[in-house]
Symmetry: C2
Subunit: 346 residues, 2 copies
């Protein structure tokens, strides 16, 4: 049943399961205390269906999570004799301390759902912990990825929008309600483009995948970006971020110029965060990592120029995420393990 | 020698001294463990002098601090039999974990000074802890002021610029180097007015005393603000923030409109911080508190509209500071006490 057991090792200590719930797919992993991935399962995230209705959509979502758990746990339980495995779930949106998904523009039919209780019920009482997906990715990269052993780090996930997670003084910062790290809606230009959140000039209008597409379409309509427009089938309006990255990778100077502009906006937001939090390192992850890799030098230059007291403070490193798409599921499994330890009082 | 002993009480437990070093004056307080202020001393902050030179200026600065300590400690030592008192110092700028003032645009001759070691030496080995002034004010308001018993709060001091301090999950967040809380240089409009820091559109170009002056002079030059211009002696270029506050207090609608604009920018930065940190409450302090009090309702409305997922999360409170100008010195004394407890391992 397991799709891949990427590192076949003896199980070291208790195993926990992590599920990263995306808008289109779910990735589940089984993780032991050494960080070894013992199993991996992918299923599509159910799409909302008018026939099924809201309650049906919510049931389908929980059922898909339960299926991931069942497929991951089956072989592990039979071999280990465990009666249950703790489950961590990362979801896109604001998750409160009780595991309820409070606000979820990217998973609207899940908004308000008490995922922790309902999934636990479906699993016959297994412990379930739910957290924000970007917070989970932060936990993953902090434990086993690019941010390992950094006491003050901020993870920035650049996808359609911008997610984030904050590690401060050796702890994941969750805030008053568990909502900390919503860095993408930091307004960086109140007269900028309208954001789906209703405001103008949120950081994710510039330094995300959709921001890159917008910057590129503006350049394309202005008559630049011939190579990129060709990749998009000749229509400036069809230009997406991936066309820019593809052309820039192939050496197109105009495409690279757009990535440098994206990088400038990225640097601006990172500098804001570093001034606020006194961060030692940033970990940039998400679908835009390859685009950022192409312009990491200019990003570092712009970032340095934007830091207050730059010559009087240690350099802040900008690192690229190293766990790829598995960071969220690994982090979710770690969140479940941490929760288990807290409950056990150890 | 003591200027005022504001609350005459029996000394409860160890006494620590706190000094808040401003650009023009220093305020020193003696504080016991019950929070009672046992003594208060003010001296001017030495101005830089071409005759004295840099080393002379630095010596004068340390000497003034030592004088504050001596005047506060004298009567306390004779009555209590203590051989020394721990000293906390709040200074404007970036202070590293060793107590060195790394970056200080508002106290330039102090930049690079190892205040902790040099003042301790001058005091014959008394323990000295140095921290950022806004961090100290945060500690003060968090212990005895408006933020008392709030686990996740951000203090925002609105003066010439904007200072800040972050309390997160029941701890003062200091960051990787002790520099956390530099919220005033969060860029909120990269095409905005130039900031002394070299960038454009820093938050403190809008929501500070100097920002208020700028907004008002723009309105005055545009022919509005007749009452405010009269208060400034008839010259639009002479308009300062305090003229606006004065006119608005007296009921002038145009002046109030400028304060509402200031408040909109304040709300914008607060919403950015709340989205990043999941703050439960803000404490607004500093010289601009009275101006903000006049427009607290529109500030709250604008802030609410800017919060991501506003209807799905608890309301974030915007509070006004309650310790006034003593917050920094009280906090500095508390930082010294905390340091003493850490050293003692209790």
């Amino acid at each position: 049943v397991l799709a891949v057991s990427r590192r076949r090792r003896t199980v070291k200590g208790p195993v926990t399961l992590g599920i990263d719930v995306g808008g289109t797919k779910m990735l589940g992993l089984a993780l032991d205390t050494s960080g070894a991935v013992l199993g991996e399962v992918r299923v599509p995230t159910p799409s909302p269906s008018a026939i099924r209705g809201l309650e049906g959509d919510r049931n389908a979502l929980l059922e898909a999570m339960a299926e991931v758990v069942s497929r991951l746990a089956g072989p592990l339980r039979s071999s280990s004799g465990l009666s249950y495995l703790p489950v961590g779930v990362g979801v896109p949106g604001l998750v409160d301390d009780a595991g309820v998904l409070r606000f979820a523009p990217n998973l609207p039919f899940g908004q308000g759902l008490d995922i922790a209780s309902l999934l636990s019920e479906r699993l016959g009482g297994w412990p379930v912990v739910v957290d924000n997906d970007a917070t989970c990715a932060t936990v993953g990269e902090w434990a086993y990825g690019a941010a390992a052993r950094v006491s003050d780090a901020v993870m920035v996930t650049l996808g359609t929008g911008i997610g984030g997670g904050i590690v401060s003084e050796g702890r994941v910062l969750r805030g008053a309600n568990g909502f900390a790290g919503e860095i993408g809606h930091m307004v960086v230009d109140p007269s900028g483009p309208v954001c789906p959140c209703g405001r103008r000039g949120c950081w994710e209008r510039y330094a995300s995948g959709s921001g890159l597409g917008r910057l590129a379409r503006e350049a394309a309509h202005a008559g630049h970006l011939a190579a990129v427009v060709r990749l998009a089938g000749g229509d400036p309006e069809a230009v997406r971020g991936e066309h820019v990255t593809q052309a820039a990778s192939a050496g197109d100077a105009d495409a690279r110029a757009v990535l440098v502009e994206l990088g400038w906006w990225l640097a601006l937001g990172l500098a804001n965060l570093a001034n606020i939090l006194d961060t030692a390192a940033f970990v940039v992850g998400g679908g835009l990592v390859e685009a950022v890799r192409l312009v990491l030098d200019p990003v570092n230059v712009a970032f340095g120029e934007m830091m207050e007291g730059r010559h009087q403070r240690p350099e802040v490193r900008i690192l690229l995420a190293s766990l790829g798409e598995t960071a969220g599921a690994i982090g979710a499994a770690l969140v479940a393990a941490e929760y288990g330890r807290r409950k056990a009082g150890t």
